[in-house]
C-alpha cells in the first residue's frame, strides 16, 4: 500500500502528523495509522485550554477492535479541537490528513521539533 506522506509535515513514531504554522501546530493521525486501525467508531479528545506534553497521550481513538492512545508531537496548550469528530468519527478514516485533524496546539518551544521525524524517515518506518 502507498501512503500519502507530505514532505512539509513532521511525524511521530506513533503515527501522528504535525503541521507547523508559526507557533500553532495542527495534529492528526497518518494514513498508515487509519489503515491499521480499521473502522474508527469513537474519538476522545482533550478540552480546549488543556496542557499537553510531547510524547504523552492526549486522547484516544477506538476502532471496533481496540482502543489506541494518541501521542502529542509537541508540548503546549490545546487551543482548538475538531469537535465534529465526536458526531462522525468516520472522517478519520476518510480523510485523516485534512478534515480528520484532531487538535490545534499552541506550542511552548520550537526546539522540540528536532525530536520529530521528517517525511523520508517516516516513510522508512511505515515501509519497514
Amino acid at each position: 500500500m502507498v501512503f500519502h506522506i507530505p514532505e512539509e509535515l513532521y511525524y511521530t513514531k506513533e503515527h501522528e502528523w504535525a503541521q507547523i504554522d508559526e507557533n500553532i501546530v495542527t495534529v492528526g493521525i497518518t494514513e498508515f495509522a487509519q489503515e491499521q486501525l480499521g473502522e474508527i467508531v469513537y474519538v476522545e479528545l482533550p478540552e480546549e485550554g488543556q496542557k499537553v506534553t510531547q510524547g504523552q497521550t492526549f486522547g484516544v481513538v477506538e476502532s471496533v477492535k481496540a482502543a489506541s492512545d494518541l501521542y502529542s508531537p509537541v508540548s503546549g496548550t490545546v487551543i482548538e479541537i475538531n469537535a465534529g469528530l465526536n458526531d462522525d468519527p468516520s472522517v478519520l478514516n476518510d480523510d485523516p490528513m485534512n478534515d480528520g485533524w484532531l487538535i490545534r496546539i499552541e506550542m511552548d518551544t520550537e526546539k522540540e521539533l528536532a525530536n520529530l521525524m521528517r517525511a523520508p524517515d517516516y516513510k522508512k518506518l511505515v515501509q519497514a
Binding site: G38, E39, V41, Y42, E44, V60, E62, S63, V64, K65, A66, A67
Partner: protein, 365 residues
C-alpha cells in the same frame, strides 16, 4: 513478511492472496481481516462467511477406556452422546477451575471420540489429558486436521451444494463423516457466531481445495472469507465465552453461566467437589452483558464501580457491536448487582461512565 517463528495453517498462502492482514494469534500466523471487519461481520449475519480455524487443536480418544477417561476429564455427560452427536463441554482442573472449553464429538459410542480444543491451549490440554488419562488411547491429531467454519443464514445451502448431501437436514450439534475429493472430512453443525452453519474438519492436504471450492461455488450466496476480528465481534454479540477473556484456570463454570454444561448428578469428574462448593455457598459474582448509558467503549480489564464507589467487577470482553452499532460489554459483577436493569459505572481510562446490565445475547434473530 518474514515470520519464521509463527505456525502457519495450510491456508496461510490463500489468505495472503486474498489480501488479508496477517497477525500473530496464539503463535499462529492468522488473518485478522480481509476487506474490513464490519463488512465481514455483516456478511456472516446476512449471507455466509468462511473462517480458517485450522489453528484449533484436535485430540482423539480411542479404546475401551475412552468413555471412562472423558467422563473423568470433562464436565458434560459424554455417556449421553450417540454416534455422530456432539456437545459443548469443559475441561476442569483439580481446583474446579477451567483448563479449557471444548467440543466433544462422538465417532463411535463408548470407544472413539474427537475433542476440539482452543489453539492457545492445545499443547497444555494434550499434556493435561495425557497426565490424567484413565486408560484411553489419546492422540494429538492437531496437525492431521485442517478446519474451516462455514457460518451464516446461507451456510447450509452452500454445504448442500458443495458436499452432495443434505447438510440443511442435519440437527444442530450433529456430525457426518464423508469423503471430499478423496480427502477424509467431517461436517459438524457447530459454530461460534450464533448463526446457522457448520465446521468442517478435513485432512490437511485437502484444505486448499475445499477452501477454493467454497469460495468459487459460494459466489451465488455472496460468500466471503472472514478474519479473526469479525470472529470476535460475532461471538461477543452472542455472549459466547472466549478462553483468556470470560474463562481461565480460576473460573467457576456456574459463575460463568456455563452450569448447563456441568452434569454433577450423572458422574464424578475432576475438580467436582470444589466446583460445586462455590455454587452451594452462593455465587459471589456472575457473568453478565451490559450496554453503555453514556459515551465510551468498554474493553477487557476495565473495572466496574457501584455509584457509592465500590469496585464490583471487571470487564472480560467489550467492543462496538457492528450489528447494533453501539458499544456492548461482558463482565463479571458482584451478584447483588447482576440483575437485569441494574446501573453501575465502568472506569474507562479514569473516567466513570454509566452502564446498565442488559439481556443477552445482545442480538436476536
Amino acid at each position: 513478511m518474514d515470520t519464521p517463528l509463527l505456525q502457519k495453517t495450510p491456508l496461510a498462502e490463500e489468505h495472503v492472496k486474498l489480501g488479508a492482514r496477517m497477525v500473530d494469534f496464539a503463535g499462529w500466523w492468522m488473518p485478522v481481516q480481509y476487506k474490513g471487519l464490519r463488512e465481514e461481520h455483516d456478511n456472516v449475519r446476512t449471507n455466509v462467511g468462511l473462517f480458517d480455524v485450522s489453528h484449533m487443536g484436535e485430540v482423539r480418544f480411542k479404546g475401551p477406556k475412552a468413555l471412562e477417561t472423558l467422563q473423568w476429564l470433562t464436565t458434560n455427560d459424554v455417556a449421553k452422546l450417540n454416534e455422530n452427536e456432539a456437545h459443548y463441554s469443559l475441561l476442569p482442573n483439580a481446583q474446579g477451575g477451567l483448563v479449557d472449553d471444548i467440543i466433544v464429538y462422538c465417532l463411535t459410542k463408548n470407544e472413539d471420540y474427537l475433542v476440539c480444543v482452543n489453539a492457545s491451549n492445545a499443547d497444555k490440554d494434550f499434556a493435561w489429558m495425557t497426565k490424567n488419562n484413565k486408560g484411553a488411547d489419546i492422540t494429538n491429531e492437531s496437525s492431521y486436521w485442517a478446519q474451516i467454519a462455514i457460518q451464516g443464514p446461507k451456510a447450509l445451502a452452500l454445504c448442500d451444494k458443495i458436499f452432495g448431501f443434505k447438510a440443511s437436514d442435519m440437527k444442530s450439534f450433529t456430525l457426518r463423516r464423508f469423503d471430499y475429493k478423496g480427502h477424509k472430512a467431517i461436517l459438524a453443525t457447530t459454530g461460534y457466531t450464533g448463526e446457522k452453519g457448520g465446521e468442517v474438519f478435513i485432512e490437511t492436504k485437502g484444505a486448499v481445495t475445499l477452501w477454493q471450492d467454497l469460495l468459487a461455488q459460494g459466489q451465488e450466496f455472496a460468500v466471503q472469507p472472514i478474519g479473526l476480528g469479525a470472529r470476535d465481534t460475532l461471538r461477543t454479540e452472542y455472549k459466547m465465552s472466549l478462553y483468556g477473556h470470560e474463562i481461565d484456570d480460576t473460573t467457576n463454570p456456574y459463575e460463568a453461566s456455563l452450569g448447563w454444561a456441568v452434569k454433577p448428578a450423572a458422574k464424578d469428574f475432576m475438580g467436582k467437589a470444589p466446583m460445586l462448593k462455590i455454587k452451594e455457598e452462593g455465587l459471589k459474582k456472575q457473568l453478565i452483558g451490559f450496554k453503555m448509558l453514556e459515551k465510551g467503549i468498554p474493553r477487557q480489564g476495565y473495572s466496574l464501580f457501584s455509584f457509592d464507589n465500590k469496585e464490583i467487577g471487571k470487564v472480560t470482553s467489550g467492543t462496538h457491536s457492528p450489528t447494533l452499532d453501539e458499544p456492548i460489554g461482558i463482565a463479571y459483577i458482584s451478584s447483588e448487582y447482576a440483575a437485569q436493569g441494574t446501573e453501575f459505572s465502568v472506569d474507562i481510562r479514569g473516567r466513570k461512565v454509566k452502564a446498565k446490565v442488559c439481556k443477552t445475547p445482545f442480538v436476536t434473530k
